[in-house]
Symmetry: none
Subunit: 207 residues, 4 copies
DNA sequence: ACAGCCGGGACGACCCGTTCGT
DNA sequence: ACGAACGGGTCGTCCCGGCTGT
């Protein structure tokens, strides 16, 4: 029992170090040696817990998914209005990004992997789906404009969130992420146009 | 003379191949061999033109910057209103992403951090600066709300553009990028709230 | 006491698994993990009984030697003529090879050189010595030709036996080994030449 | 051209070193580092010529096959009687074993099973086939007994040759191989029994 | 006494970015 | 401009100890 506790601790240490390393340098840019030095463990210890680099990356992603799942359920349980729920979720996710190395690592792994691999990462799809549902409910409840396309808007929200997170990371290492989410929602909700004005754009994408 | 022409052609071939490869697999994920096979040249030829991997990456980024510079000047020369100019620019950039491998490669190289030690990539700063200026002009001209913070909004626009581009790439390999830009501007300008409604959020980022 | 019985069982299981593994893949080609998985024991259990790979290999060889010793004494006790004894021995050895994994493993470990620096394995020397003695007795008893060189012939017999075993293993996994021993003795005793003919070769090896 | 000569030389050096190393310690017992140190080349050079350990081993085997093929054709061209041809061949092969490291390495690689999945190495089959044909012709020509089974005898000859080679290697490092071939043929042709005597054994392998 | 879990490093094959002689 | 060579780095495996529990 006492022995197993050490194993659990080692595993956690490695996982955290891996998250940090993957977040900082990406999957191919991170060597096992990087991780093992950062975690302060030996190769033997590392490979006892994770038998390959790929498996370690998968574990980091899993950890992230679990963490995201946790706060998502927590927020949904609060039974707020759809739009408020969505906004609240985004802030909680942002906080997790700031606090949890595994989440940061998982995000980079998920994005980067999705960049050169076929399907859309599981997590991203779930995320978009949830956002889309909340936006649909918000529209039906009159919280957002009836003209809005929930799916398209959901994908934009997720994309903008991702982009903001990247920019924030590069600028301040995620320190100003919350302020950027403030801006995001302010613009997304009210729009940039002066009060009372709207534009009907001719879409270029309709070809 | 004839010799030089071949050299120029070889250089271009390599540059394009490198852009494609970097876009697909990132800097550390791409090997010189990958590029040299994709370009169909020998090691000697490659290293004659670019004496290191880093230099090759820099050349790709330079190529992208030149391309972006070109269309930016072109659009600015049209002398439209600030907001229209900004919107137009975003579409032209999107088209370049779709068409030019070097641009795609340059973007990934610029975004992916940890490989080089850039505090903030040159191009991104210029991009944000330009957007910020146009938004400031747009506000002064009454094209957008007087309440808007041009700098914050500029960073959001750039972030959202980047995020949309990533999502588009993963979903359709950039095929639906233009449509996503449609959505972006539609939401950014009009907002999601029902007509006539606005919210004054209490910013969390103000701590 | 009850405890010790389990220990004996474990030891035997490991020994058998090791014999099988060494026979199949040789000493350097076999990993401790291979053996321990094949035996269904843990690392701790294995290393309690055999504190190193080398010691385990030695135990396998010892097991083989004991087995060979057993049948050898049994056959010698039958008090047959020297030649008949030798032939009988070869068949009994062949049967052991077919039946006992430790014997197979021991043979491969003994033959395969380079792993340890044995000038000539103990067992082989004993084997040749015994064969040589029996052939000498057979010659003195008129069972074989007076011209025969017992030592040279003994080494040939051992070599041919070894070679036949290898060929049999590769062809049928030892299934047809007995038939090959039939052939061996048929040719060794009668020779290939037509009845009544002999040749006197000029030896090339006499230099 | 001149450049290629160096490459050819390097390749040959590596091949010879690999043959020696494989012959001495077997495939799994030989590390690439062993070979590269023995050959006096760098890792880069080695992997330029042979892109994997397995490929290197295959090249050694190929080299051996070519060498054997060469002397085989040479001897066959001499148009001697079948039995004389076979005997001559065995001596020539023995000489090659003594002289050519690649041949020694190839033999060990071919014999040692478990490393690759070859059920029966090509070369061995050809060897047995050729021996069988020559023995058949010898029987038809009355050179050997009409009772002999050419195929069984051929497999025995090949097995005995292999076994003798192993014994010779372990005892003297192949130095006395020729003398052992003398013994082999003396016994194989005349048999061990006293002149004029034959035995009809009851085969055990007939089940 | 006997076995299991966890960890320690040295070493394995192989690849990488790069240079050199021609 | 090219084929050949260089050597450090990559991920992963190996054999093996030290604890801990029964």
């Amino acid at each position: 029992m006492a022995m197993q506790e050490r194993a659990v601790r080692t595993r956690g240490t490695v996982l955290r170090a891996a998250g940090e390393a993957f977040a900082a340098k990406g999957y191919p840019g991170t060597s096992m040696t990087d991780i093992l030095v950062l975690a302060g463990v030996t190769k033997g210890a590392l490979y006892f817990h994770f038998s390959s680099k790929e498996e370690l990356a998968a574990a980091v992603v899993g950890e992230q998914q679990a963490a995201v799942q946790r706060v998502t359920e927590e927020v949904l349980a609060q039974q707020r209005t759809p739009l408020t729920t969505l906004v609240e979720l985004s802030y909680r996710w942002a906080e997790q990004i700031q606090q949890d190395a595994a989440v940061r690592g998982g995000i980079r792994l998920t994005i980067e992997q999705g960049t050169f691999e076929q399907p859309m990462p599981e997590l991203y799809l779930q995320w978009i789906e949830l956002t889309s549902q909340l936006l649909t409910q918000a529209r039906d409840a009159g919280e957002i404009s009836a003209d809005a396309d929930p799916t398209a808007a959901a994908e934009l929200v997720v994309g903008a969130f991702t982009g903001s997170q990247i920019v924030s990371q590069v600028f301040t290492g995620h320190a100003d992420l919350i302020r950027r989410i403030d801006t995001l929602w302010s613009v997304f909700l009210n729009g940039l146009l002066p009060e009372g004005r709207t534009v009907m754009m001719l879409p270029r994408g309709a070809r």
